[in-house]
Amino acid sequence: MTEADAHLDLDLDLEFDREDLDGERPVPSLGSPVLVVDDLHVVFRVLGAKSKSATDAGAHVQEASPRRQSLLKRLVTSGSRHVGAVSEVHAVRGVSMVVRHGESVGIVGVNGSGKSTMLRAIAGLIPPTEGSVHAAGEPALLGVNAALMPQLSGERNIMIGGLALGLTQKQVEERYDEVVDFADIGEFVNLPMKTYSSGMGARLRFAISSAARPDILMVDEALATGDAAFRERSRARIEEIRKDAGTVFLVSHSIGTVEAMCTRVIWLHQGKIVMDGSTDEVVPEYQKFVRAHKRTKSGGRAGGVGPRARKKRNGGKGDKPVG
């Protein structure tokens, strides 16, 4: 499993959602550092997959040749000596940053650039292979990818999710109605989550994970799901949490969202930071890159492998090079 499964369905073609631009961009009031990331590396070990298939799965690659370890080391660490079946995906390759209180940081980059992995590593959910992350308080990840237990009812999932977030049983019961209302799933709350439509599942997961109020908030693609009404509600919810938390990380494919909500933008490419600066500085450069990328319509290596992108490509000029 790699981080790539987190957002395979999103395309590179960014339609800048203007609807998200209505809100006021928060004014930065910089405080003391609340998060220090020092030379962070994350390497995934992929068993039973050659590096080729890891590439196809969307994990960024190209010149990122997996670090070869000695045969003995591989034997010891993996125990699996099925010829060539152990490969490594170097998803985050040396990221450093200092984030201060009051900043909201947007993270942009094409699919498979290591955004989600980096976010999880910063949140302390994926242990770093090298380097370290220092934070004030406990960062919490607000995501829609946390399929808790699909075979259980929404009700059980709310309880499990809430308890895992550190709430007590009583607190979860108190917020239960609020969560169900926010997710807008009605009677479905008593059915197993695997019977939900993808939109309902995403809404419920978002509602569960936003039930707690963290010190540092990390939002992963949460604004990309649901209909316009839900997006508006979740935007408001994040804004509310942001006011309490003070520091927000936002991974989004919608440039509009990043522009509207972030004071600082970090552009990741193949696991490295290629730009880090104010929103006005980074976003135009990134847009330029994405547009150029779109225009070349080169194969699906770095992204654009979704059905939407494919349709667009075929509908456009027919002279695109394949692969």
Binding site: P33, G79, I126, L148
Partner: protein
Amino acid sequence: MTTPTTAGAAAEARPKPPQPPEPIEFDLTSEERLALAEQNGLTRMGVRPPLWSYIRDVIRHWQFIRVLGASTAYSKNQNNYLGQLWAVLNPFLNAIIYVVIFGLVLGASRGVANTVAFIVMGTFMFRFIDTSVHGGARSIASKSSLLRNLHFPRAVMPISEVYSQLATLIPALGVMVVMVLLSGFIPAYEPVRVTWWWTLFPLAIVLLWIFNMGLAFIVARVTAATPDMDNIISFVLRLAMFASGAIFPITRFVDKLPPSAEWFGMVMEYQPGHVYLYLGRSMIMQEKTIPPDLTMWYWGIGWAIFTFALGFIVFWRGEEKYGRD
């Protein structure tokens, strides 16, 4: 719309993908950043907490363990028409097969007065060890989405897994007791009586539960590092089942050992699997060869505490590594 600088390149017949800027150089050195972190009292993420605060953290998540364990137990039999009935049907059918093959066909349990009760108790109780070890081994991998998205001490996973096995065991134990009682009505056997010893049976199960958690911790750590171990565990468990005397008494075999191999007999007799099956049987059945024995209780308590403590520490020492793959 501004004209991108790469427009010229795009107009070519075979355009090249644009290149992003080179990775930036960071303006602070690693030492400066670490100093900054220390100045502001930031705590390092993704490192193993000290043992005591880890224990406190696990205890704080007790409700989570309970709900997760109960939900896992429930969800296991949810996709069948008979639903939760399978929680008791499974061990029941399992016991019947062993009784038929080993008790009746092979006659492997010679030297035991009530063969049926002997095998039924052996298979039901050993099944608890078996499922706990298997569940513990998969507890990290099977819920990786939970690990990837939420913070909690990872020891919660094996504990809740064994808890879910306990939750399935308790109704099954009811069936087991009924089967043992009914076996007393077989003409060749003496009737099974309900005695005061029965009240100590739950204590034997609690000790076994604690012991199983210890085992689950150990296999969870091993399997998280080396998934292949999951396959080997099945074989080890099958061997352990026979070595623990789940089907036929090991005393028959141990008594035949030459004096020079007496130590081996001791090992077989006081190894945890045999100890717990002995404790269970000596409380419920009235076998002359399995009398209630205080020494066995000491061994049972000792194994439970030792294995749990060892397992917990082994698991804790890998805390920062879980959830990477």
